[in-house]
């Protein structure tokens, strides 16, 4: 019996899924950065913001589930397409030149997995740090222990140490490179093109990728330059337990 064609069974459908899930993840990175920029407003504002995020469980868990779903859909489709594309060219060219492909496009299969590992590291660091390290030294760094009610210090004190800074910088740069191709690609995959606005797609990709990269790099830079310092204030936020 003939099956009916379904969207997800087609290559274009899978690309649409990649674009849509990528869009959700992009939205999150923008929100995540803008929230974290509160660090520059001071420890109290930063920690208050972290507490506020926990006061609406429906929103928090809604967002977490949506993100998890988007990540799985993004990786799942990428993997299936990667496999298919590999099979589509079984014999390789002896001479292979690329005329149009930029560095970002060529390295999507590297920047993607780097990002995945980085996200796991980032979660282990700043979300599950307390669970993973308890009262002990985080990542074996002497004197760097989890403070339950003080996300500000957890972040700032981490960036005083290279073993935390290096993976972070690598992750953020991979994010920028991934988005440089990803954002542009998203428009193309969803067919969002119009002769009048097409040049803006590249501009937007460059602008957003640069903004997110520099914005996220501003934290370790500010800490290492001594502009952001650990706070001695104490906080008590049961929501953050």
């Amino acid at each position: 019996m003939q099956r009916a064609l379904t969207l997800y069974n087609t290559t274009i459908g899978k690309k649409a899924v990649m674009a849509a899930s990528g869009f959700i993840l992009l939205g999150f990175t923008v929100g995540h950065l803008s929230g974290n920029l509160k660090a520059f407003a001071g420890p109290t504002e930063y920690n208050e913001y972290a507490r506020w995020l926990r006061t609406v469980p429906a929103l928090l868990w809604g967002a977490r589930i949506a993100l998890l779903f988007a990540v799985l859909a993004h990786i799942g489709s990428a993997f299936q397409l990667w496999k298919r594309n590999k099979d589509a060219r079984p014999s390789r060219y002896q001479k292979n030149v690329s005329v149009a492909t930029d560095y970002a496009a060529k390295t999507m299969y590297f920047s993607g997995p780097i990002l995945l590992f980085y996200i796991l590291f980032h979660l282990a660091h700043l979300t599950f740090g307390g669970m993973l390290f308890g009262e002990g030294a985080m990542f074996g760094i002497e004197g760097y222990a989890w403070e339950v009610s003080n996300p500000y210090n957890n972040m700032v004190r981490g960036f005083q140490h290279w073993p935390v800074v290096i993976p972070y910088v690598l992750g953020v740069v991979a994010l920028g490179v991934h988005l440089f191709h990803g954002i542009w690609s998203m428009f193309q995959s969803l067919g969002a093109n119009h002769p009048k606005y097409n040049h803006l797609r590249r501009d937007l990709a460059i602008g957003l990728a640069a903004l997110l990269t520099l914005g996220n790099l501003s934290f370790p830079i500010a800490v290492m330059a001594g502009y952001l310092e650990p706070t001695n204030l104490t906080f008590h936020f049961p929501e953050l337990m």
Partner: protein, 263 residues
Amino acid sequence: MKTKNLTLHVWRQDGPDAKGAFETYTAENVNEHMSFLEMLDDLNEKLIIEGKEPIAFDHDCREGICGSCNIVVNGYAHGPQERTTVCQLHMRHVFALGWSEIWLEPWRAAAFPVIKDLVVDRGALDRIIQSGGYISIRTGSARDANETPIPKPISDRAFDAATCIGCGACVAACPNASASLFTAAKVSHLGMLPQGQTERFDRVRKMVAQMDAEGFGSCTNHGECEKACPKGISIDFIAQMNRDFVKAMVTSKHDVEAPNDAE
């Protein structure tokens, strides 16, 4: 008139299932005004005289309009000159690059089995057309050209897409051996014109389904195809196909059948 000796590494393969390999030849006294294919003709004459098997390559019009010729020249589908089929590539352009050693390879894609040497079977592209790349409404004999008013920008764009000669260079140049540019061109040139409207959303679904069934890869938006395409067809058409396809899948009230995988 300049002449030059060239070292050619040519892919030789007896058939679809045979193992291929490069063989090295010297093309002697290549005249700068020869076309690339004439250079190969000359070499073949020599091979025949020597009692060797001539190199098989595809060609027909040698005018850049039929889409038969296909050789990857030093990594460039149709050679290094933009918007030029390999039959229209002339040796002076090759000399100008200072090349004296050239690798000749067939289009490499699972969907394009090698028939012999540089000749591949591009029947997959024909089957994509057969799945829906036509208009099944009888339009009668030729009518007055301006009877159906079509805005100039639209007819121009449709014509841009219609210039696709079906050569398959887009597939050859794509890192994923995707036929997206070809299919997009064929979907779009009909989908933009009034005669093509009736079947527009069925056409795109059937053609994309056939494209997938043939085993082509997916588009990763690298843009290699557009650069390799001898007709300079824009990847904007791929976006247009994607939009029509997703729209068709989401909003159409009836299904289309998924074709069986082509073998």
